[in-house]
């Protein structure tokens, strides 16, 4: 990748956008795992799926709020979906932000129905005799899970495509950001589920073949994929272009926060549970969640030269 001088101004997408990319990713990753469980999991895996539904919907709501707060004119958030001068829906399939706004709305609908469904199933909401499922039954239910997870995957990855579809340095010079964000979303979504289930009083046993063990197995492979994608992005960008990511303040956050603490150490803790099974899992999940957040921080902020004031201590 040649060194290209950029004259583009930065959009100043800061904390709200980093938080949106991160939380939206967790929601999408968790929802995807729930869909996998719906499609091929055991009845004993269902507790994990329910937890995924419990976290996905509130996170999507928070995401919507974050996006609204980031706008220069928050009261005009609906302009993302409706062309205000004509009162008609606006959808530009070639604009990642336009497609993303619609996808978030639809994914919100899916997560809402799944959330209600989980409440009904766990008898938080009484319906009939209670404990019955609302939507996830039979072929239609599986179709719902599958389509919902596709929207989830879209939410996880379009954010990367959105950054690439600009004329900003780094963002526009790699086509792998969407892939990286997707892998990170899946990994952090799984980590959130692992964390919640390990912190519950009646946690699912992490024995061989248990739901948590399967989730951990999936997360390990996803983290490896994430690591490969980070390497590929840096390699394809080349040292000069990737310099803001790999050197100085962001370099420290990337190598220590994202790679070492967020990927390598959790992998070690998963393979060698040196703090006991539960302690290692909790710590690993926390580190994965931290790494996922710092990953968004580095890739969103570094090309714009922005940073969080609480990370100022790491500035060179």
């Amino acid at each position: 990748m040649s060194d290209v001088t950029s004259y583009a101004l930065h959009p100043e997408w800061g904390g709200y956008i980093v938080a949106y990319f991160y939380l939206g990713g967790i929601a999408a990753g968790a929802y995807f795992m729930a869909a996998i469980i719906e499609l091929i999991g055991n009845p004993e895996d269902r507790a994990l799926a329910r937890t995924a539904y419990y976290i996905a919907f509130p996170l999507v709501v928070i995401c919507g709020i974050l996006l609204i707060l980031d706008l220069g004119r928050p009261e005009r958030f609906w302009h993302m979906l409706i062309y205000s001068k004509a009162g008609m829906p606006i959808f530009k399939y070639w604009s990642p932000m336009s497609v993303g706004a619609w996808a978030l709305l639809i994914f919100g609908g899916f997560t809402f129905l799944s959330f209600i469904d989980a409440l009904v199933e766990s008898r938080q909401i009484k319906r009939g005799k209670g404990g019955e499922r609302l939507i996830y039954t039979g072929f239609l239910g599986r179709g719902f899970a599958f389509i919902g997870s596709l929207f989830g995957f879209f939410i996880a990855s379009y954010t990367g495509a959105l950054l690439t579809a600009t004329n900003q340095p780094i963002w526009s010079q790699t086509s792998l950001l969407g892939a990286l964000f997707l892998a990170s979303s899946a990994s952090t979504g799984m980590a959130a589920l692992l964390l919640i289930h390990n912190l519950r009083r009646h946690r699912i046993e992490a024995r061989d073949g248990s739901p948590l063990q399967k989730l951990q197995h999936a997360d390990n492979w996803t983290m490896l994929l994430e690591l490969i994608l980070i390497g590929l992005i840096i390699f394809t960008l080349g040292q000069n272009v990737a310099a803001p990511l790999i050197k100085g303040h962001y370099g420290k956050v990337l190598w220590i926060g994202v790679v070492l603490l967020g990927i390598v150490l959790p992998l070690i803790l998963h393979v060698l549970p040196i703090l006991g099974t539960r302690g290692s899992e909790v710590l690993a999940a926390l580190l994965i969640l931290l790494g996922g957040f710092l990953l968004r921080y580095v890739f969103v902020m570094a090309p714009q030269g922005l940073y969080f004031s609480f990370l100022k201590g790491l500035t060179p």
Partner: protein, 282 residues
């Protein structure tokens, strides 16, 4: 419906850096901009103070900017020249800002110019990220983006843009883009004849060219005598949507891999079903 594309041909070789265009722009558009003097103590104007080029760049309040490019060697004898260029929105034929705008705030007018509808913009700033020239800017003062309108309000009543009218040297020439381009090419040929071999047009069809539509170029184009980078212009700007298919393909491939990881990790129900069937058979 575009009747005939309007634009500017900016001949930088005759610009004298008088800034009449910049003043005219600010004066004509003062009703759309914050009062520069109202909050001057809280928000003093950002002026460089190190050059005749005081404003430094285009911004949400400076829709025109005269660049002063100072090319002087250390002792001022080897090289000493000022390049001046009056810059504004390029009103690209394939405008990246217009392409990515999710709200429909950015539109193409009947004059083929690119216009921000302030009543629609919600300040998402995707256009700021997309513009390769650093033209469109976010206004902290009203939460919307701003840029040159090609004096849309003046064009609608048959006037020419304020900057072109104010330019005393005809460095900024307004008119139909095809006619302006012919004029520009003749001017380049003249300059070549006179020994200015480095003169060329920046903004012909090759810039932001879309092979699918066969269209490209800038409705506001320039005659330059040095590399584009010297003038703060990108040599090879990109159309943002061109990156989307490749980006999507990699995302889909990764989704597929993550899906397989999930399936392989949670596949034992199917295995158990098969085992159960086999047990029943035996």
């Amino acid at each position: 419906m575009v009747v005939r594309a309007k634009g500017f041909f900016t001949d930088t070789t005759v610009c004298i850096g008088c800034k009449a265009c910049q003043v005219a722009c600010r004066e004509w558009n003062q009703d759309k901009l914050p009062n520069a003097f109202e909050h001057v103590h809280e928000h003093p104007p950002h002026l460089l103070g190190t050059s005749y080029d005081n404003t430094g760049h285009l911004s949400s309040v400076n829709w025109r900017h005269v660049k002063f490019i100072e090319q002087f060697s250390e002792d001022r004898t080897q090289q000493s020249r000022w390049l001046m260029m009056s810059d504004c929105c390029k009103h690209c034929v394939n405008a990246p800002c217009l392409e990515v705008c999710p709200t429909g705030s950015l539109i193409r007018t009947e004059f083929d110019s690119v216009y921000v509808q302030p009543e629609v913009c919600n300040g998402c700033r995707d256009c700021v990220a997309a513009c390769p020239f650093g033209v469109i800017s976010y206004g902290e003062w009203d939460g919307k983006v701003h840029k040159c309108t090609l004096c849309y309000d003046r064009l609608q009543v048959g006037l020419q843009p304020a900057c072109a009218q104010a330019c005393p040297t005809q460095s900024i020439q307004f008119g139909d883009v095809d006619e302006l381009m012919e004029r520009a090419k003749k001017r380049v040929a003249t300059l070549h004849e006179r020994g200015v071999k480095e003169a060329y047009i920046y903004g012909d069809k090759d810039i932001l060219y879309d092979p699918a539509s066969g269209k490209g170029g800038l409705n506001v184009f320039y005659l330059l005598v040095d590399k584009p980078e010297v003038y703060g212009l990108p040599a090879n700007p990109q159309i943002p949507s061109k990156t989307v298919p490749k980006s999507s393909a990699f995302s889909i491939l990764t989704a597929f891999i993550v899906g397989l990881i999930g399936i392989f990790s949670f596949r034992d129900r199917r295995i158990r079903e098969i085992q159960k069937n086999e047990n029943l058979r035996t």
